[in-house]
């Protein structure tokens, strides 16, 4: 007589375990095929708007939020539709995104990388945001872009102008509509040549952080290619407020052009100080002394007041453009808020529309599907002419505006005038350009 070791309970246990074990790979396979971070399963989808609501760029952040609200309104079918009507892609129907109502949460970047990452993380983990967008600083954009890559959500950058955002720090989940330092330089150089000639000595004052470095590198290379001599490149602390001790040495340097690679409060103060020191009336080497501000912002130009008059720079977009898209956006924004939008507002509105359109074309919120839809996407009707979202680095290539401080402004926001629209072809560079080298997109991360 043999004794069996099997009991009824033991067989059941073994069977259950074996069944679970066999089923597991199927569960994981099935799950990973469809799941991604914050897959919206209900009737709505949540977007995360991460903008500076406090800190030095709070006014730009407020304008970005206004544009985001407008974009959400248009996506959900309210308002006049804005640039949805002029956008070359006709996927968006005003019924949300893929039929889901668009909701949003906001975060405060404080223009600090750690605070921006914390608020983005909170919006992803607590609020279920499927996409993060916004910001008004390159340092912040690069930090949040890295976080979104790790978390497996799409990051649609706001106002970030450093070459590094789509250069050495580019990420597969990150996309930039705004132009960059190289493009500013490429657009400005021919205008500067026409205005000031090829025999010039340039003195650079540069904000000492990622944006300033790449802006200085770009504009110095572009002007040196014209034949200009770079007299000095001086780095100034980001926290500096009084630039007089950096301006004073310019007076005796032999330079006849001052390039202010400054943005925001730095730009307002350095430009004000430069004008105070009489640089604009100065004649050096038999030529009128000139000041150049490579990146202009209308909101910041307001702080510098009359000092911006006649000073050239570049901008991503300006409310005075006469194309259909720009006019539709200005009308929509101006009617709602009573004043025209800034370039920060324009770029984030475009980014929201581009994301929504990519989701619609992909038929999925999966970040990898969205990324694929955005890569190589060519579009028009969003205020910058024909635009390409280049697949290799996720940078938009479009026309760049060269602007000048207006001599006789008629209102608080009528501060800049467009002097030239530089075609996209002139500011396009190869994806492996040395100024953008050192990083790799990597592969898309769907998260979950």
């Amino acid at each position: 007589m043999s004794k069996s070791d099997f009991s009824r309970r033991g067989v059941l246990k073994t069977g259950a375990l074996a069944g679970t074990g066999l089923a597991l790979p199927t569960i994981f396979t099935a799950s990973s095929a469809a799941a991604f971070t914050n897959d919206p399963t209900g009737s709505s989808v949540t977007l995360g708007f991460n903008v500076p609501q406090t800190g030095p760029y709070a006014d730009e952040g407020a304008d970005e939020l206004r544009a985001y609200r407008l974009a959400v309104e248009h996506l959900n079918g309210a308002g006049d539709g804005g640039m949805m009507n002029t956008f070359s892609s006709k996927e968006l129907q005003g019924n949300g995104i893929l039929g889901k109502e668009v909701k949003f949460v906001t975060g405060d970047t404080q223009t600090k990388s750690d605070a921006a990452r914390a608020s983005a993380k909170s919006m992803i983990e607590k609020d279920g945001a499927v996409m993060i967008t916004g910001g008004s600083s390159s340092g912040v954009a690069i930090a949040v872009q890295g976080l979104c890559q790790e978390a497996g959500v799409i990051f649609m950058a706001g106002l970030t102008h450093s070459n590094d955002t789509t250069g050495k720090d580019k990420k597969a989940n990150g996309f930039r509509h705004f132009f960059n330092g190289y493009m500013s330089a490429a657009a400005l150089a021919p205008v500067l040549k026409n205005l000031y000639g090829t025999d010039r000595n340039a003195y650079h004052l540069t904000a000492d952080y990622t944006w300033g470095w790449t802006q200085e590198e770009s504009i110095a290379a572009a002007t040196e290619a014209l034949g200009w001599n770079t007299v000095e490149k001086v780095r100034t602390p980001l926290a500096a407020t009084d630039f007089s001790s950096y301006i004073a040495p310019v007076l005796n340097s032999g330079a006849d052009v001052l390039v202010l690679n400054h943005y925001g409060g730095n730009m307002v103060n350095s430009l004000t100080n430069a004008v105070q020191f009489g640089l604009r009336e100065k004649v050096v080497n038999g030529k009128n002394f000139e000041i150049v501000v490579p990146l202009y912002s209308r909101l910041m130009a307001k702080g510098a007041g009359a000092n911006v008059k006649g000073i050239h720079g570049s901008t991503n977009w300006h409310w005075s453009l006469q194309d259909e898209g720009s006019q539709a956006f200005v009308r929509s924004f101006g009617t709602k808020y009573g004043f025209p939008p800034s370039q920060a507002a324009h770029t984030v509105y475009c980014q929201t529309m581009l994301y929504a359109d990519a989701v619609s074309r992909a038929g999925s919120f999966n970040p990898c599907a969205v990324a694929e839809a955005l890569e190589g996407f060519e579009f028009d009707g969003l205020g910058n002419g024909k635009t390409l979202y280049r697949a290799e680095d996720h940078q938009c290539f479009k026309d760049v505006l060269v602007v000048r401080g207006k001599e006789n402004p008629t209102s608080d926001f009528d501060l800049l005038e467009v002097v030239e629209v530089t075609p996209a072809a002139q500011v396009t560079y190869p994806a492996d350009h040395p100024m953008f080298a050192g990083g790799a997109l990597g592969s898309c991360n769907p998260g979950a």
């Binding site: 406090t54 800190g55 030095p56 760029y57 709070a58 006014d59 000095e232 001086v234 602390p237 926290a239 407020t241 009084d242 007089s244 001790s245 950096y246 004073a248 040495p249 007076l251 005796n252 409060g265 307002v268 103060n269 004000t272 100080n273 105070q276 020191f277 009489g278 009336e281 909101l299 910041m300 307001k302 702080g303 510098a304 007041g305 009359a306 000092n307 409310w319 005075s320 200005v330 009308r331 101006g334 009617t335 004043f339 025209p340 008629t410 209102s411 926001f413 009528d414």
Partner: protein
Amino acid sequence: MDAILLQILNGLDKGSAYALIALGLTLIFGTLGVVNFAHGALFMIGAFCAVTVQRILNLSYEVVDETQKDFLGNALKVKTSYVESWFGPEMGGAIIDWAVPIAIIFAIPIMIFIGFVMERGLIKHFYKREHADQILVTFGLAIVLQEVIKYFYGANPIQTASPEALSGVANVGALFGMDIVYPVWRIVYFFFSVVIIGGIFSFLQFTTFGMVVRAGMADRETVGLLGINIDRRFTIMFGIAAAVAGLAGVMYTPINSPNYHMGMDFLVLSFVVVVVGGMGSLPGAVLAGFMLGILEAFASMNEIKSILPGIDQIIIYVVAIIILLTRPRGLMGRKGVMEE
């Protein structure tokens, strides 16, 4: 040589703001024994007094001009200021142009009042507390004040120009046969600070009120025992210190467009100035203010930075460390002040 003289001028001009703020800080510390971290906020409020006066003078009414269009294509609403309407374009324009100097008249009573409210409403409750408590509460107050300003005026800098007659540059080197130009308003700022500093010293030195205050600073208890209400005088001194910081702020607005954060930008530097000058020493604060301003200007010279890269960003703190190591009381510090 030109470059050196230029940086000396620049240092004196930078030092003017440091000295004025440090003077107020020292007045408060010397009289009330309070380490006032909200002093930078008073400088900022002073600057916004100028912004407010400028806005009041620019208050305007709108007239619809059918011949011009706004950005939406509607008839343009042309603004005309009441001042220009009342006094004529020339006189009205001149009044608006002189908004910053006019703001001085308004800033003095406003700042004294703010100082009085600050001292009586909050700071007096912390006289007997530790310095750490005083620093915490005044720092908190500074944050609250700057957020209030940001709520009403926004975060971006607001341009506040100097009068046309005082803008531009003056050839200060002409006296020595050199070609050294310097902004007129910065020269005005320097002389303004000299007048204010001189006025404060004269007030303390040559008036009975000043004599009592100085006696109170030296020995508060004895002065109290003589039946003099020293607390009331010290409260007035707090108001005067607030006014000094406010005036420094008003006059600073054409130099750099004011923003809500400008007080914090000056606060740490001013404390270093006070420590280097010697806690509680008024001449020390003024001397250190100008000295550090000049050193900072020289450290920004390219010739210096090529030898010591980044020295412009740390020079003030390096000097503070050296002074504190070699002369812990600061340049002109009094024995027993901030010493256990």
